[in-house]
């Protein structure tokens, strides 16, 4: 009975945010997970800015035009591209995480015969395909940004 109540106590998160970057030999998937969080924060910041910018519409056409003028500087254009790249990454990696959490991409269990191959490494091709897709889409959007502005 005591053992059950002890199990409910969460383990302390000793590493804190530092653990996102390093806590031993992380595999590529762990860094993708960290990047997922960072892009999530970036997208939240963008949504906040987007809502404030859209709010300027409430004060009429003049206010809207001056907001657009303010946002048309090159710094914001670069930011806009980064938001698109973050959206692509967060969406595709989120899909991968979802499939893994629900068990669709875990593969069949295998007997532990040496040399051991953990399930993470067995599903690595999926991760690599996903990364290639993200890179391809990010480059496509970059080209579209450069051509169409």
């Amino acid at each position: 009975m005591e053992a059950t109540s002890k199990q409910k106590v969460p383990l302390p998160n000793r590493l804190g945010i530092v653990g996102w970057a390093w806590a031993g030999r992380y595999k590529i998937e762990r860094y993708l997970y960290t990047l997922h969080r960072l892009t999530g924060f970036g997208l939240l910041a963008y949504v906040a800015l987007h809502l404030v910018a859209n709010g300027s519409r409430l004060w009429g056409e003049g206010s809207w035009e001056s907001t657009l003028n303010f946002l048309s500087n090159p710094g914001f254009k670069v930011g806009e591209y980064l938001v698109m790249a973050a959206f692509i990454y967060h969406a595709l990696n989120g899909g991968r995480l979802m499939l893994q959490h629900l068990g669709f991409t875990l593969g069949k269990p295998k007997p532990p015969i040496y040399p051991y191959v953990d399930s993470m490494r067995r599903r690595r091709p999926l991760t690599l395909v996903l990364l290639a897709l993200i890179m391809g889409l990010a480059i496509y959007v970059l080209v579209a940004f450069v051509i169409y502005g």
Binding site: P12, R37, G40, L44, G55, R57, L58, W64, A91, M98
Partner: protein
């Protein structure tokens, strides 16, 4: 609500955002003329389907974002009381942001 239900909602809202924001971006870029032009903005503001899409994006986006942030904060092994405060704070922030954000398209409609 149990944590696994909240997590399933996180997945559902994520998929919803992907399609709705994707559609929003596609339609904005495929539209003739400048989608940020005042006439074009006013035209979209008068459309009931755009209004519905904006409200859905808001609901999905606010839930997905705040639940994600909540998950990160919960990793710091907070005591029960702090978790309760966090839950109510997230709910309050979500309702406040939704109230402000939904007022913009509803006012323009």
């Amino acid at each position: 609500m149990r944590e696994n239900h909240l997590k399933i909602l996180q997945y559902v809202t994520g998929i919803g955002i992907f399609f709705l924001v994707g559609l929003h971006l596609l339609l904005m870029h495929l539209a003739k003329g400048d989608p940020e032009d005042w006439t074009s903005v006013a035209q979209r503001a008068a459309s009931a389907s755009w209004l519905a899409a904006y409200i859905l994006i808001l609901i999905f986006g606010i839930y997905h974002g705040l639940h994600g942030v909540r998950g990160l904060i919960l990793e710091f092994s907070l005591p029960d009381r702090a978790v309760k405060v966090l839950n109510y704070s997230m709910l309050f922030v979500g309702i406040a942001v939704f109230g402000y954000a939904v007022y913009i398209p509803v006012h323009a409609f």
